[in-house]
Amino acid sequence: MPIKFPFSRRAAPSDAWTKCPSCDAQVFNKQLERNQRLCPSCGHHFRMSVGERLDLLLDRESFEERDAGLEAVDRLGFHDDRPYDDRLEASRVKTGLRDAVVWGTGTIEGQRVAIGIFDFRFMGGSMGSVVGEKLARCFETALAERIPAIVVSASGGARMQEGTLALMQLAKTTAPLVRLDDAGVPFIAVLTDPTTGGVLASFASLGDVILAEPKALIGFAGARVASDTVGEEMPEGFQTAEFLLTHGFVDAVVPRPELRSSLARLLRLLPVAAVDDGAQTTPPERPWGPIGALSGLAERFGGAVSETIGIDVDQPPADGNGRTPAAEREEAR
């Protein structure tokens, strides 16, 4: 479907001034745009559009968008005060995006990455089937090309209008991370304001390194849901980036002006694991795997017994260098 797209900023006039929620200063919008959307008085981090985030993080003209054409489908026929399709269309017109995530490949200080970026303006950055599919493809491309994966999140969580299909995106975006682990490909999560609900309860909490922007709201349950359910006010500073840092769930709180250089440093310090000429990207099947128990089960339940039961337990697997752990211990002596 054609997207009505307000190309020039003049076509979508916004108010010239924005009030800073932290210090109440009136900030000229042009000034925000020039200043990485940071409040000039107090440094408050305003939310960024996906376009601004791309310009902030990636080398100029390095980004190639992938799967731009994926579009949401109203599989449930969801209708609250208006149909899901109308909400989608309103968000498309407002943002010029087809859904809440843009992903592609690009470079950061010359280092190639697969990167997915949320835009909170598209239905609160909520994760439905399109977001899940794009992120899964982002991770799978990182795996296939052996380049690091980065996801910059800004999301209220799973998209209710897609029901359990949205819930299943938690698993869809998480499953490829197991393969990245096996293949030795790093994944860096960047949590920006806000990152909550199902997005935090899946890939966003599973970065090999997790960075967060200062004062970003990051939490599992919305504070309102939490206080409704628990019946008590939440403590001060609860569910902020700094709270998560204190409790050990993020690695660093990085101010926006340092985000690009911090990512570049991490990419240099955490390179993709080297592979042998055999280019083995998955580890050998564990020799003491489930086959033993399964063969008993299969006999019992009458299923087929696989042929690969021949396991020599006394002979542990050789490592990548063709040496057994025992031989290595021998050498170490």
């Binding site: 307000p6 745009e33 305003f46 996906v50 376009g51 601004e52 731009a68 054409g69 994926l70 949401a72 489908v73 599989r75 969801f78 209708h79 005060d81 010029g96 835009d119 303006r121 609160g124 950055g125 909520s126 439905g128 089937s129 899964a136 999301s155 209220g156 799973a158 209710m160 029901g163 359990t164 299909l165 995106q169 698993a171 869809k172 998480t174 499953a175 991370l177 197991v178 609900g197 935090l200 890939f203 966003a204 909490s205 599973l206 599992f220 349950a221 359910t229 628990v230 609860f238 409790h247 099947e285 564990r286 489930p290 128990a293 399964l294 008993g296 299969a298 339940f301 017994v305 696989s306």
Partner: protein, 332 residues
């Protein structure tokens, strides 16, 4: 699926659909509905409950341990709701804290180590949203459970018993075969939570329940659940033993289907199952106003600031901020 199979015309849920959905929700939440421990006694033999996450504590909202299924050792894990006020306080109404999910992870790793198949039971309104749970990393605990389950090298059969409530349910819900009792429900957010966000009133929970299509039959239609297990009489609460026996037969049948698979095939099939969940269109269209690759003349022209050479737009010009945040656009 990559295209919509049965796209319905969007409209407010019909009154019959609202009635149907809400009666299922009531049955799924029925105070006499069999709980995980009730059914374990019927389905398995010799269940030995194990406690603690080895890090923080024990969470009574999740139970688990080894048992045998028709003589074969398996690991059993499930949410545990109470049956009266006292036991519901002990069980936190079946809403786990992070240590519950971490206990489950520990038991799954043990099953993986010993090559024991896993059976899980989902029955929770959701993971507990309180401050202590947040402090101890509720989201991380759920995410790690989901990740662990996607990579376990043993067969996993998941049974939705009552309420499949959001991430707290999915944390035990990634499997090779997903079964649901006839009156079980599964949803991305509670109907009350959905109603309060989208309808701005918890009183619309019935409407939200229908709109989210959360019944077991809906879940089969969406591909989230593979098969429904019929309940006896007026519902599972009328006969726990018959419910357990029906589940036992269904679980054994599912295990029989999985037991011949090699590990690689098992994992590949599980991955494909998760990858296939969702509905979207692949239009192949480019982004609106995608910047074209600049010609050499343009590149040089821009560097030298030659007049008449248009600058390639930056991404922030294509997708600028226009602050019109709608508080209604919230996720779960």
């Amino acid at each position: 699926m990559s295209d919509a199979q049965t796209i319905q015309r969007a409209g407010p849920p019909a009154p019959e659909a609202v009635e149907e959905a809400w009666s299922r929700v009531q049955l799924a939440r029925h105070p006499q509905r069999p709980r995980t421990l009730d059914l374990i006694g019927v389905i398995f033999e010799g269940f030995f409950e194990l406690h603690g996450d080895r890090t923080f504590g024990d969470d009574a909202a999740i139970v688990g341990g080894p048992a045998t299924l028709d003589g074969v050792p398996v690991m059993v894990i499930g949410h545990q709701k109470g049956t009266d006020t006292e036991s519901n306080i002990l069980r936190n109404f079946g809403s786990p804290h992070p240590e519950g999910f971490r206990k489950a992870q520990r038991l799954m790793r043990l099953a993986d180590k010993l090559g024991m198949p896993i059976v899980t039971f989902l029955d929770t309104a959701g993971a507990f949203p309180g401050p202590a749970a947040e402090e101890r990393g509720q989201a991380e605990a759920i995410a790690s459970s989901i990740k662990l389950m996607t990579g376990l090298q043993v067969p996993i059969v998941v049974v939705v018993l009552g309420e499949g409530g959001s991430g707290g349910a999915l944390a035990l819900g990634v499997g090779d075969v997903v079964l649901a009792l006839e009156n079980a429900v599964y949803s991305v957010i509670s109907p009350e939570g959905c109603a309060s966000i989208l309808w701005r009133s918890r009183d619309e929970a019935r409407t939200a329940a229908a709109a989210m299509r959360m019944t077991a039959a809906d879940q089969v239609d969406l591909g989230v659940v593979d098969a429904i297990v019929a309940e006896p009489g007026e519902g599972a609460h009328t006969d726990h033993t018959a419910t357990g026996k029906a589940l036992r037969a269904a679980i054994i049948s599912a295990m029989r289907r999985l037991s011949g698979r090699e590990t690689a095939e098992l994992l590949a099939t599980r991955y494909a199952r998760l990858r296939g969940l969702g509905a979207y269109l692949e239009t192949g269209a480019a982004s609106p106003a995608r910047p074209e690759v600049p010609s050499l003349r343009r590149r040089i022209g821009r560097i030298l600031h030659l007049p008449g050479v248009p600058r390639r737009p930056r991404w922030s010009e294509i997708w600028p901020s226009n602050d019109t945040d709608d508080d209604n656009e919230r996720g779960a």
